[in-house]
């Protein structure tokens, strides 16, 4: 009896997993940071491909995340000592994305179960990894909360609940605005399809955020030829100082 159930399950398994798949489009797969860059809107849209009819039951929901490169962050806390505010405790958060947006077709608690959230690290809290706080810090969570709070205020972390529009359980679209103070790197973009809070399919792609042109050249020069870059900075400074002095002298003499 049990063997037959297992067989049926195994036969159905690929169908269960692959029955609904994501076909994705991005308004741009690359974000070019030029000198005039002041933020960018990315339009993410797609369709759900399925071989069979739309399954019965709870409707299809979509969760989309965009994450910038993860880096360790040093979080410091001030306390009042001898009348002045000084940094006392410090905690290194092991990995926190430089940018994180999570957009969903409804309230995140409704469209995603906790277990699936945990497995795929979808919510902002799950995207930050902090392990091993020193003994003297008993409230390590407060430091993680501070990272989220400070970056939310800077629009670097965004929770966009209800921002994904889903049509006929097939077409979906959302728009995510990247702020101006963006770091370079690969921005992992993930799309999750959920039914009844469980992830039934997911798809991953990358948005390439790169400096281009003059920005690229200056950045590369400053890292690869720092002495030349430094001397160039000084030369520009001296030339500008001399130029302004000469120009003002001409103005006064004429």
């Amino acid at each position: 009896m049990r063997g037959r159930w297992l067989l049926a399950f195994l036969l159905l398994w690929p169908a269960l997993v692959q029955s609904e798949e994501v076909v994705l489009g991005l308004s741009k797969a690359e974000v070019a940071i030029t000198t005039r860059f002041d933020g960018s809107d990315i339009f993410i849209f797609g369709a759900v491909k399925r071989e069979t009819a739309i399954p019965e039951g709870p409707p299809l929901e979509v969760v989309i995340t965009v994450a910038g490169p993860s880096l360790p962050v040093m979080v410091r806390r001030k306390q009042n000592r001898f009348g002045i505010w000084v940094n006392t405790d410090a905690l290194e958060v092991d990995a926190a994305p430089s940018f994180y947006a999570v957009a969903s077709s409804g309230p995140l608690d409704d469209v995603l179960r906790d277990t699936d959230d945990l497995r795929h690290r979808i919510g902002i809290h799950r995207a930050i990894r902090s392990i091993g706080a020193p003994d003297e810090i008993t409230d390590a969570d407060a430091f993680t909360e501070a990272v989220i709070r400070i970056r939310e205020n800077a629009d670097l972390y965004q929770t966009l609940e209800g921002n994904v529009a889903v049509d006929q359980q097939t077409l979906f679209r959302t728009e995510i605005s990247l702020p101006a103070n963006l770091t370079e790197g690969d921005y992992a973009t993930r799309i999750f399809l959920t039914r009844d809070g469980a992830v039934i399919s997911h798809y991953e792609t990358v948005i390439d955020v790169r400096k281009v042109g003059l920005e690229r050249w200056l950045y590369a020069l400053s890292r690869e030829q720092p002495l030349i870059y430094g001397l160039m900075s000084l030369a520009i400074a001296i030339a500008a100082g001399w130029g302004a002095s000469a120009a003002f002298r001409l103005l006064r003499d004429s």
Binding site: I33, T34, T35, R36, F37, D38, G39, L71, P72, V73, M74, V75, R76, R77, K78, Q79, G83, I84, W85, V86, N87, A90, V93, F143, A146, V147, R149, I150, R151, A180, N181, T183, E184, K211, L214, E215, R216, L218, Y219, S222, R223, P226, L227, Y229, G230, L231, M232, S233, L234, I236, A237, I238, A240, G241, W242, G243, A244, S245, F248, R249
Partner: protein, 304 residues
């Protein structure tokens, strides 16, 4: 017009930067201070990462000081000999300062030390200058000529040297020490150090105010140039785009400032500088005393 800074990795308004550069440039030309003690906190305020702000500011000071010093050269108000002696002390001091800075960084709390340094030095110097200038103004009003002390313990030291432009015949030890102390403080506080050197030259060395400004600018060019190179090669934090925007405003401002300075009396110049120094000091002191709205701050990891 928004512009993206390649090293700072933030987008800021170009006209805001030009304006800030211009404002600080005017002050630089008027008082012979680099303006770093004013500009660096302003850059923090508009969201430039502190490390980039400090390094780039050094580069901008080179430009505005160079522009200012040329004007002083033409009026022959630069004491090259005194400047060189101060510079020797300054470079030794800067090297010592960097060592001290790294040592304190290893202990933590370097931020606090920098802020306390600012509050203490700005407060003491500002208050001293304010009182002295007020007295000087009162004396000129009552008709009595200003008597500056011509002979004190400094004149008893050996290794005397003649500084013709300044009209001084004093030992090289005090200017070397002044340069050294300013160099150490400049390295720790990330500024040119003009706001400390100018009063030291007036009150300790007894140099005439008109010569002090040009000589201070002369010395600052070399110390900040050295700092720029150090930052560019070790921390990669000099943002050339930010520097260009600041210095375009800065050099123009410095030219205007130098001309304003010529038309003002030395006492008025000093009392204005004193008020400004006290204002910055007050702002920094309040930051330490009042509870900040955000108790937490983020920084790059690995800076233990």
């Amino acid at each position: 017009m928004q512009i993206y800074l390649p090293i700072a990795e933030v987008s800021v308004n170009a006209f805001l930067l030009l304006g800030l550069g211009g404002m600080v440039g005017v002050l630089s030309g008027m008082f012979g201070v680099g303006g770093g003690f004013l500009m660096t906190p302003l850059l923090f305020f508009i969201g430039i990462p502190p490390a980039v702000a400090v390094a780039t500011e050094a580069n901008q000071i080179v430009a505005s000081s160079f522009s200012g010093v040329l004007a002083h050269f033409r009026r022959k108000t630069v004491d090259l000999r005194m400047g060189t002696v101060l510079l020797i002390g300054g470079l030794i001091g800067a090297a010592l300062g960097v060592l001290l800075f790294n040592y304190l960084k290893a202990l933590g709390q370097v931020d606090l030390l920098v802020r306390l340094c600012y509050v203490v030095f700005l407060g003491v110097i500002g208050a001293l200058m304010f009182v002295e200038s007020l007295n000087a103004i009162r004396k000129t009003k009552s008709g009595k000529p200003i008597q500056r002390k011509k002979h004190n313990w400094i004149h008893g030291l050996p290794f005397k040297m003649r500084f013709r432009v300044s009209g001084l015949y004093i030992s090289v030890i005090p200017p070397l020490l002044v340069g050294l102390v300013v160099g150490v403080l400049a390295a720790i506080m990330g500024v040119g150090g003009g706001f400390i050197m100018v009063p030291a030259m007036i009150y300790l060395l007894g140099m005439p105010t008109k010569v002090v400004v040009g000589t201070s600018l002369f010395q600052i060019i070399f110390v900040t140039g050295f700092t720029t190179l150090l930052h560019a090669t070790t921390n990669y934090t000099v943002d050339i785009v930010l520097a260009v925007l600041l210095l375009i405003g800065g050099v123009v401002g410095a030219q205007i400032g130098t001309r304003i300075g010529v038309h003002m009396k030395a006492e008025q110049l000093r009392i204005l500088l004193a008020i400004m120094v006290l204002a910055v000091c007050g702002k920094l002191a309040l930051d330490l005393l009042l509870q900040p709205s955000e108790l937490y701050s983020l920084g790059p990891a690995g800076g233990h």
